[in-house]
């Protein structure tokens, strides 16, 4: 599998580490339901058979976390962006 790193270009997935679904957001730790919310955040997954947005870390490259759009049935990749949300990836 080859992933399009927004900084380095297309590279073999071997250079990356995988974390998983990018959808869960770290909940507000001060919220009254924080215990439940953190349980869901840490443990529950949609685990879709199809399109997923997921987090990869380009550890052997630019050391950026990226969000990859991928299909879990075909491994087809639609694109990737920096996880920090900014175009340049330096969180500016």
């Amino acid at each position: 599998m080859r992933l399009p790193c927004p900084y380095c270009g297309v590279r073999d997935a071997h250079e990356f580490s995988y974390l998983g679904d990018a959808a869960p957001r770290r909940p507000d730790p001060a919220a009254p339901d924080a215990a439940d919310a953190f349980h869901d955040y840490v443990y529950l997954r949609d685990n879709p058979a199809g399109a997923i947005r997921e987090l990869w870390y380009h550890g052997a490259g630019c050391r950026r976390w990226i969000v990859v759009d991928r299909d879990t049935r075909t491994h087809a990749i639609a694109g990737a962006t920096f996880a920090s949300g900014s175009a340049s990836g330096d969180a500016s």
């Binding site: 900084y7 590279r11 950026r64």
Partner: protein, 203 residues
């Protein structure tokens, strides 16, 4: 190739001299650089424009925020990540750090990395064929050119390299503790072409 390396302890750097095929001119020459100061430069949040301006003003370098080498005669900035560069210069590490601090002030984080890597130049008629055995990046001249840089995984070791010229020659920054293993992989890959290991290479 095991016949070259079987007597060399895995913790030792490949000694200077000829390795692999011994007849004819060496296919690959590996040249360690011992006097290069190296630093990492990481722009603060939102400070890339400021850093770019400062690089131009202080060094006359048009800094690219990309996997490219931006350089003048005495300093080179190698893009290794967004807002992030490896800086090299032929001077004392303290002197480089001082120059960079002067130029960028608190717009960037600087760390001395002069001892962190084995800096190694690779060139020779078989360098392309040899690197194809090691580097999972397309080095065809139509794709990778002088001034291009890449951080990647070579024989399971993370490292950074960039192309110096179109002869072609490449400069590798290999994390110090991986240098013996890298040179073993290099010796294997270059065995059929013959490898000349130049000079004393102390990581």
């Amino acid at each position: 190739m095991s016949e070259i390396l079987s007597d060399l302890p895995v913790t030792d750097l490949l000694p200077p001299g000829r390795h692999g095929r011994a007849d004819g001119a060496p296919g690959v020459i590996a040249h360690p650089l011992s006097r290069l100061a190296v630093a990492t430069l990481v722009a603060c949040k939102g400070a890339v424009p400021r850093i770019t301006e400062a690089a131009l003003a202080a060094f006359g370098v048009a800094l690219a925020d990309a996997p490219k080498v931006s350089f003048t005669a005495d300093i080179a900035f190698i893009g290794t990540g967004p807002g992030r560069w490896l800086v090299t210069a032929s001077q004392a590490p303290e002197a480089l750090m001082a120059r960079l601090t002067d130029a960028f002030g608190d717009g960037a984080a600087l760390t001395d990395q002069s001892d962190a890597n084995l800096m190694l130049d690779l060139y020779g008629p078989a360098v392309g064929e040899t690197l194809a055995k090691l580097v999972p990046v397309d080095l065809d001249p139509s794709v990778f050119r002088p001034g291009d840089a890449a951080a990647t995984l070579v024989a399971l070791m993370p490292l950074t390299f960039w192309q110096l010229n179109d002869s072609p020659a490449y400069r590798f920054a290999i994390p110090r503790s991986f240098a013996p293993a890298f040179l073993r992989a290099l010796a294997s890959a270059a065995a059929s072409a013959g490898l000349e290991m130049a000079g004393p290479a102390r990581g």
